[in-house]
């Protein structure tokens, strides 16, 4: 016992030295891994820019504004996929934002306490379902449902209205921007709802209680206390959802129809950036074609990067307000 204690004090300095060396090594390994994350993100951006340079050089700004996507003639303009991406994402947000806020309200204020956990998990599971399954369900079940039940109704009731009429004027084929937008909306709900629920339950109780003491109804608490208080977080969550919607690939590929014609009607097939890449990349037979698709990927990457950065900055600010370090 004594001997071993003496031995360890003897070995002390040496052990400490080797400990310091090992410490530095361990620190180095973890730092390299951290740099690696940055390297991957930067590498992805650079490799997209490099792969798309032929398209950017050939078409310049026309790549973004031109409408013709002609693989045989070698002319590539990305306006239709960009338009389709924006429209489907917009539809997704129009559906997902109010629904997510409703779910968050239900889970923090209305639902019986015992049911909150299971319901929250069920909503989270919407995010766990692989997007390819959303796509299959969309193609085989939801698109036919839209074609037989929803789209004819929309056309008869809205197609003759001024302004919004052209949006709903089209053949009820089920495949198109409206269907894709709805499927995207369902996929985005869990992401927005999770953040909204978290910040709703983080609203300080005294704030809500004072509103109650003033005689506010629950609706007034939501619209005048909770939502104003959590505004930046909700906007952050919406941007997070937008980032997801813009880049979602498989579900959209199934139900959007891969059409390269521009149409105003939401019932018509269209294209999105991600769907165009998924559908056409393995068939791209010329350098210019392949480069154009990678250039599309670059645009998608840049736009989602900006959107997600805004989301993250807003959410960080909220976390700081709530006194969290992470």
């Amino acid at each position: 016992m004594n001997a071993s204690a003496a031995q360890s004090t003897e070995l002390g300095p040496a052990a400490r030295r080797s400990g310091a060396g090992a410490d530095r090594l361990f620190q180095l390994i973890t730092a390299v891994a951290a740099w690696f994350v940055l390297l991957l993100l930067g590498g992805a951006a650079l490799s997209m820019a490099w792969g798309g340079r032929l398209a950017f050089q050939t078409f310049g700004w026309h790549f973004i504004t031109a409408r013709d996507w002609d693989a045989v003639g070698g002319k590539f303009g990305a306006f239709v996929p960009i338009y389709g991406t924006l429209v489907t994402s917009a539809i997704a947000l129009i559906i997902a934002v109010p629904v997510s806020i409703g779910i968050a309200l239900f889970l923090t204020d209305i639902a019986p306490r015992w049911s909150r956990g299971p319901i929250a998990i069920a909503i989270e599971l919407l995010a766990a379902i692989p997007s390819i399954i959303y796509g299959m369900w969309g193609l085989f079940v939801f698109a036919p449902f839209m074609a037989t039940h929803v789209e004819p109704w929309l056309t008869t009731h809205f197609a003759s209205k001024p302004l919004i009429g052209p949006l709903f004027d089209g053949p009820p084929i089920g495949i198109g921007m409206l269907t894709a937008g709805i499927v995207l909306g369902i996929m985005v709900i869990p992401f927005i709802a999770a953040v909204a629920r978290e910040v709703f339950s983080a609203v300080p109780a005294p704030l809500r209680e004072s509103a109650v003491a003033l005689g506010s109804t629950r609706w007034e608490i939501l619209s005048r206390v909770t939502l104003p208080y959590t505004r930046s977080a909700i906007i952050g969550a919406i941007f997070l959802g937008l980032g997801r919607a813009l880049g979602e690939t498989m579900a959209v590929t199934f139900v959007l129809g891969n059409a390269h014609d521009l149409s105003i009607s939401l019932l018509m097939p269209s294209n999105s950036i991600a769907a165009a890449i998924a559908n056409e990349f393995t068939e791209a037979d010329t350098d210019l074609y392949r480069s154009s698709l990678i250039a599309l990927g670059f645009l998608l990457f840049v736009v989602t990067f900006i959107v997600l950065t805004i989301a993250k900055l807003l959410l960080l600010r909220v976390n700081r307000q709530l006194g969290r370090t992470n």
């Binding site: 310091a20 891994a33 951290a34 490799s47 109010p98 309200l105 379902i129 796509g135 629950r218």
Partner: protein, 278 residues
Amino acid sequence: MAVRAGRRVADVVAFTFATAATLFGLVWLAWILWTTLRQGAAALTPSLFTQMTPPPGTSGGLLNAFYGSAAMILLGVVIGAPIGVAAGTYLAEHGRYTRLATIVSFMNDILLSAPSIVIGLFIYQLVVRTAGHFSGYAGALALAMILLPIVVRTTEESLRLVPDQMREAGFALGLPRWRVTRQILYKAALSAILTGVLLGVARIAGETAPLLFTALNNQFWSSSLNAPLANVPVVIFQYAMSPYDEWHALAWAGAFVLMAFVLILNILVRLLARKGNQ
């Protein structure tokens, strides 16, 4: 009185809306689960696990796709998880409060939500173009790149949850920092880190877009990762988009197995997390 009635109506409307919104969300979940269950159960046969993907018009199974998916997921975890744990350790421990850690933590969250199709294009440029052919290795790398930010995030979070007293106790015993991390912190955070890896597996199991132009697909049995490799998501994609009924049935069967795997993993992870909290 009129104002009061109006306010009450607004209140009732808002809360009916909130309840309806929750039902709306749950209905989609039930609808999708039910469709997959019904179609998938009808298409489940023993040959699903014993035969290869068939040519059009004949029956077969998905054995080669299951093998390919399992191999790529396994390799993806072997590559992605250690790097993720190391980077997460830097963010929470060795690089805490440094500027690098702040930036990496920020960028990691962006990588976490980055479109997976772009990751597929990146690996295509990096690996497939360089090597000159599609391969299972490229697919595994793409999956690793999707798994990585998930593991980084959960490792960072779970290490931060370890109380500082445990670090101080370790330092008080004279342990060097790396041994504190390895022998005390990793042990305390082990189940949380494993949870993160399992969630990552659930996520990459269903990823299709990054495999489309990395692993591609392979109709025949191939155990080599250095060649195009069959995998469940891409087979589902191709078969579902085809005009053949037999292929549709197989696609549903594959979707059923995939969905069951992903959901069971997700629920298991939540049960484990709850147990850990208690």
